[in-house]
């Protein structure tokens, strides 16, 4: 199937689902309180964009969440990539660290919120820490897997061409594991963005997570929908952005 026809199908499927949604709600087959009409949503989105939510413009909420995600994700990556490379390089280090990572990974972030508050208070630090720890957990595994997946022959070829251990690391191990590191970055960015809502449950005054929590407290259901939809759309945009950077930077992978 060609790229164009795939893009067409994806776009068409979005419109079909929207049309069905519109039909169900306009015919009042489902109570408006349960399922909001897409038109109501659009109106809500427009009014939120103009008037803001609880005195803060909508874009500021979105930017607040994005900023937390970015800082948390960058901190996570800064630690995850070196640690992952070292784990892939040293089987001993891998054996020492991997059980902790494997046990921590499946625990939902919400479970850590009380502890984060207890240890670090309700400030920004707790929120960003939760994001960076989560993205760290995912990125280390992928980076380590990248190093472990390097074919033995490639390392041997480099050594027989006179590469010193440092050269081997910089000129072979690092670029060779880059495709895996990028997979880690994609997954890490996705979980960071997903975690932001949970992180903003900790006494945030701004952000999409705060917006959803606050609106649901006051039963402003259309606002909740707008918040959810925005998180989805922005998450999708982040993924596309990283994926296009990936295509250019690691053009040799998957061919």
């Amino acid at each position: 199937m060609s790229r164009v026809s795939r893009a067409f199908l994806s776009t068409a499927s979005i419109f079909v689902v929207l049309a069905i949604w519109l039909l169900i709600t306009s015919q009042a087959w489902v109570d408006q309180k349960i399922l909001v009409s897409p038109l109501t949503l659009l109106k809500q989105f427009i009014s939120l964009s103009i008037d803001g939510y609880s005195g803060t413009p909508l874009y500021v909420h979105a930017l607040a969440s994005l900023l937390r995600t970015t800082i948390g994700f960058v901190c996570g990556a800064t630690f995850a990539i070196p640690v992952g490379l070292a784990m892939g390089y040293s089987p001993a280090l891998y054996a020492v660290l991997s059980p902790f990572l494997a046990i921590l990974r499946p625990i939902p972030v919400i479970a850590f919120i009380p502890l984060a508050i207890l240890w670090f208070g309700i400030g920004e630090f707790s929120k960003i820490l939760l994001i960076s720890v989560t993205s760290f957990l995912y990125m280390t595994v992928n980076t380590a897997a990248g190093v472990k997946a390097i074919p033995e022959d490639v390392l041997r070829a480099a050594r027989s061409l006179g590469a010193t251990p440092t050269q081997l690391f910089l000129h072979v191990i690092l670029p060779e594991s880059l495709p895996y590191i990028f997979v880690g970055i994609r997954v890490g960015a996705a979980v960071s963005w997903a975690v932001v809502v949970a992180a903003e449950l900790i006494a945030a005054q701004q952000g999409l997570g705060y917006l959803i929590m606050d609106a649901s407290t006051f039963f402003r259901i259309p606002v909740v929908y707008v918040g959810i939809a925005l998180i989805g759309v922005i998450g999708f945009a982040i993924d596309r952005l990283i994926s296009s950077a990936e295509k250019r930077l690691v053009h040799w992978s998957a061919r």
């Binding site: 041997r156 027989s160 050269q167 000129h171 670029p175 060779e176 690691v250 053009h251 040799w252």
Partner: protein, 269 residues
């Protein structure tokens, strides 16, 4: 000891390599000795799993033998080094580098500045006919072109010895024959000492000055034969000459015998 004329280029003495498979110790080869002279083209043939590649990788310095020694130019080898170029069955190219950057890799590691590397890569790419593909990436190349790149890469630092591990096994028959003919030409031009591991008896006889037949595991040298056909063999039709066929027949019988033994041994274990 270097260039004294008395030592061989490669001297393998009482080499034994055992490895653990499951709970048992398996000997890849036992007490193996072989001398290879400067400028020889030596092929090693034998049944699968007879330790041909293990021996080649021991000479390369990738594998530490269990006992015995390998001397290159009279010096005990302790690891891989740029005096021994290696060509792999899997090509083992650096996928993120262009063809030219792959070829220049060894020079780059040695600290040669980009301007200094260029003439050498130009020369080698010209020799293997890849000048037009210098700026392509390995994933854009056919198998034959990938292996040409790998051969140029191995030659770039001008090693004395070229170690080739079934380099053409992953190629289709046509590309394989063309690359064999190119290797004859490259060997004639560079006069490297070549150790060549292969499954193909045909290939071994066509390329080599000497063919070494290995026994079934644990590998020992069953038979060594000098190929008394004028080398280098530029004319590919030599493959169908009566002399060639006679040599091939005798080697074929030896390898078949060992392969049957190897099957029997594997059926028992």
């Amino acid at each position: 000891m270097k260039d004294s004329g008395e030592t061989s280029r490669i001297e393998i003495v009482d080499l034994t390599h055992t490895y653990v498979r499951g709970r048992s110790q398996v000997a890849a080869f036992k007490k193996l000795s072989l001398s290879i002279q400067q400028g020889e083209f030596v092929s090693i043939v034998g049944p699968s799993g007879c330790g041909k590649t293990t021996l080649l990788f021991s000479i390369a310095g990738f594998i530490q033998p269990t006992s015995g020694r390998i001397l290159v130019d009279g010096e005990l080898i302790s690891g891989p080094g740029p005096n021994r170029g290696v060509v792999f069955q899997s090509f083992a190219l650096f996928n993120w580098l262009t063809v030219r950057q792959n070829v220049e890799f060894g020079l780059q590691m040695a600290g040669v500045p980009p301007k200094g590397r260029r003439p050498r890569s130009d020369e080698l790419l010209g020799m293997v006919g890849l000048t037009r593909f210098a700026d392509r990436y390995p994933y854009e190349l056919s198998g034959g072109m990938k292996q040409r790149t790998a051969i140029s890469r191995a030659l770039a630092t001008n090693p004395d010895i070229l170690l080739m591990d079934e380099p053409f096994a992953a190629l289709d028959t046509q590309s394989r024959e063309i690359l064999q003919e190119e290797l004859v030409r490259i060997w004639d031009l560079t006069r490297k000492t070549v150790v060549f591991v292969t499954h193909s008896i045909d290939e071994a006889i066509y390329l080599s000055t000497r063919v070494v037949v290995f026994t079934a595991r644990p590998g020992k040298i069953k038979y060594v034969t000098s190929i008394n056909l004028p080398a280098p063999r530029y004319d590919p039709h030599v493959r169908t000459s009566p002399e060639f066929v006679t040599i091939k027949d005798s080697v074929l019988d030896l390898v078949r015998e060992e392969t049957i033994k190897q099957f029997a041994e594997e059926a028992l274990t």
